[in-house]
Amino acid sequence: MLRSLTRLSGFSASRIGFQQPAVARISIASFHMGTRPNAVSVSTSTATSPSTPLPPPMAASIPKSDISTTTANATTAQGTDAGPVTGASSEQLGGEEEDKNTQDDAESAASGFAEFTPVSPEQARSLTQNPILSQLVNTIMKDGKKARAQRFVADALLEIRSRTQSDPYHVILDALELASPILKLTAIKKGSKVLQVPTPMTERQRRRKAIVWILEASDKRKGEKQLKDRLASEFLAVVNGNSGALVKKNQLHKMALANRANASLKY
């Protein structure tokens, strides 16, 4: 964790105000295992595209599901870093279109829940089966009105597609990755003082934070009445590099840097 914070500080000291690229995210696995992920490198190209895939959080052996193997295409990302686990999850987006590179597949597959719920290729973008989209739907849902929330997400995806002529699922993934913080600040009492301690978050917690920030930022949009338009605009704003959600993320990271000394405290 300390090492990750020094990386974060060295980075942001020189590039304050820029987009934090994917490199700044250090996975929880490396924290637990005490190793540095070898795939992490500084990307100096467009600040808005995540570069390399994260290694999966838990390298447990997951039995390969029959469903994904029968309908998997030969072009899936089988040859990337962590073998069997990534393989099982990348097959959920198997049968991907021609021009998508393997990097995208592995990147989108490296989310927290993907390894544990094998999904057949035709349900890769399903609002009910895909873990990321269903988390988005559930976060938007209020009073148990799931169908309404699904409609919002589906309409927002269609709106993104009509504005960009590209796959909205990848836009959403990209936006969530960009907007998700890598840690949260937990307040603990040391004596009489309240200290803010940076603590890690699971993938799901990170993603939820990103979704909540994006939703809050979308509510501030004037001129677009319907949620689908606001949501689509907000996802695209994150991907283009100017959104309230990104501002909040950077603020949180700055505060974590300021309190990095507390990270070594035991409580």
Binding site: T71, L158, R161, G223, N240
Partner: protein, 446 residues
């Protein structure tokens, strides 16, 4: 509430404070009216004026920039867009839907409207829900179905028969493709050189969205602007054909005299320029095209169920008017019911389930679509107009048609999953082949 009012005034660009702008926006007659809030504001104004000015004028200036361009590129419009995701829209390549291609061999293929027909169709709006699909996928195209081929054969047979013998109403469940089939018929007849009168939304005639005036000494009402608009549309759609037909005798339309031998396009021009003569122009026009045998006429009315139920207009007694009391609707009802006829032509109409409030029980019972208790009293004023109509049911997609549409959606990048057989089956079965639900399933995944 106040900010919305202020945003629309030119006061936005001044560097006045908010309070000064609010004061300036209020009409002069109310300016001297002192309210409690005005007194309080005056008291606090001295303290708060200085710091408030800068903050609020900045926020107003920024808002002006953000409203203009797209939200996602941010305020000021100078932010770059992520090139990875923004791609140019490429129209899908489709063949043209012509009388030669509307055949059994092409069933399952999606064909676009011919370039000669598209400007004519642009004169009137597309049906509501279809227009959303057409905005998403360009160019506008529809699939050739078994029902299309058989229906167009029927319409071609009607080319040489009076219209009173071919009065067809397309029925079917919601989203089954009635409006789409009607659009294909219109396109087919335009390509074949018919005179086409296409009314995409008959509901707008009945929902009191146009002004109406009572005709003296009768119980009828006339809608001048609506008639004028309709006359203009017909003229733009059929311009070249109408130059070939001339009036058979002298007539008076409103305040104008129309001589014998005037081209029909010139007759319609009279109705476009003078809306109060438009109703008479329309009636004379329909009589003239009905009297000639060279060019057949197609009258295509969508949302026809609104013509068979009480309108939203009120009479002088405050009662709802029936469609027969509106002269333009009565003119069309005469042709739909067979009381008037074209020597060569056909009347094709389609019902619409878009708004539940517009459903016509009388029409559904007469066509045999719905059954009610024999003791239920149906409107005796509307019932006579529904006699003699043939009902053609538009079914859901067959598997072949759905596969063709599925491949078309994939080509148009409506969905980005791999176009596999299991995915197709998933969409087809969950939507039961219903065209609208199939589109929603493919485009939205719900």
């Amino acid at each position: 509430m106040a900010h919305r009012f202020l945003a629309s005034t030119p006061l936005l660009r001044t560097s006045l404070s908010l309070t000064a702008r609010a004061r300036a926006a209020v009409p002069a007659q109310y300016a001297n009216y002192v309210t409690a809030s005005a007194v309080v504001m005056a008291g606090g104004k001295a303290k708060k004026a200085a710091p408030k000015i800068k903050a609020q004028s900045n926020s107003f200036r920024k808002k002006k920039g953000a409203d203009d361009d797209k939200g996602e590129s941010g305020s000021g419009g100078a932010t770059r867009l992520n090139e990875k995701y923004y791609k140019p829209s490429v129209p899908v390549k489709v063949e043209e839907f012509l009388p030669s291609t509307a055949t059994k061999e092409h069933v399952g293929q999606v064909l676009g409207f011919p370039s000669t027909v598209v400007p004519a169709l642009a004169q009137t709006a597309y049906p509501t829900l279809l227009s959303e699909q057409f905005e998403l996928i360009k160019p506008a195209a529809l699939v050739v179905r078994d029902s299309t081929v058989s229906f167009l054969e029927k319409v071609d047979k009607a080319m040489k028969t009076p219209s009173a013998q071919s009065r067809i109403v397309l029925t079917g469940e919601a989203g089954s493709g009635k409006s789409a089939l009607l659009l294909q018929t219109v396109s087919h007849c335009l390509s074949a050189g018919w005179i086409v009168i296409y009314v995409p939304k008959a509901t707008t005639w009945m929902n009191s969205s146009f002004a109406y005036n009572k005709v003296a000494n009768t119980t009828s009402f006339v809608q001048p602007l609506l008639a004028s608009n309709l006359v203009g549309q017909i003229q733009n759609v059929n311009k070249s054909i109408l130059d070939k037909i001339t009036t058979s005798e002298t007539a008076t339309v409103g305040r104008h005299e129309v001589e014998k031998g005037t081209k029909l396009s010139a007759l319609l021009e009279v109705g476009v320029k003078d809306q109060f003569a438009a109703q008479d122009v329309m009636e004379l026009f329909m009589k003239e095209i009905g009297a000639q045998k060279d060019i057949p006429t197609l009258v295509a009315v969508d949302e026809v169920n609104s013509l068979f139920r009480p309108t939203q207009y009120l009479s002088q007694d405050g009662k709802e008017l029936d469609p027969e009391h509106l002269k333009l609707s009565k003119l069309f009802l005469n042709y739909i019911s067979g009381k008037s006829t074209f020597k060569h032509g056909a009347i094709v109409a389609a019902t619409s389930d878009t708004l539940l409030a517009n459903k016509s029980e009388v029409l559904e019972v007469t066509l045999g679509v719905k059954e009610v208790s024999p003791y239920k009293r149906l409107s005796q004023t509307i019932l006579p107009w529904t006699q003699g109509l043939t009902s053609v049911e538009v079914p859901n997609y067959t598997r072949e048609e759905a596969k063709g549409v599925f491949d078309y959606y994939k080509k148009a990048n409506i969905f980005f999953d791999a176009a596999s057989e299991p995915l197709f089956l998933n969409k087809f079965i969950t939507s039961n082949g219903n065209p609208r639900k199939f589109f929603t399933a493919c485009a939205k995944g719900i």
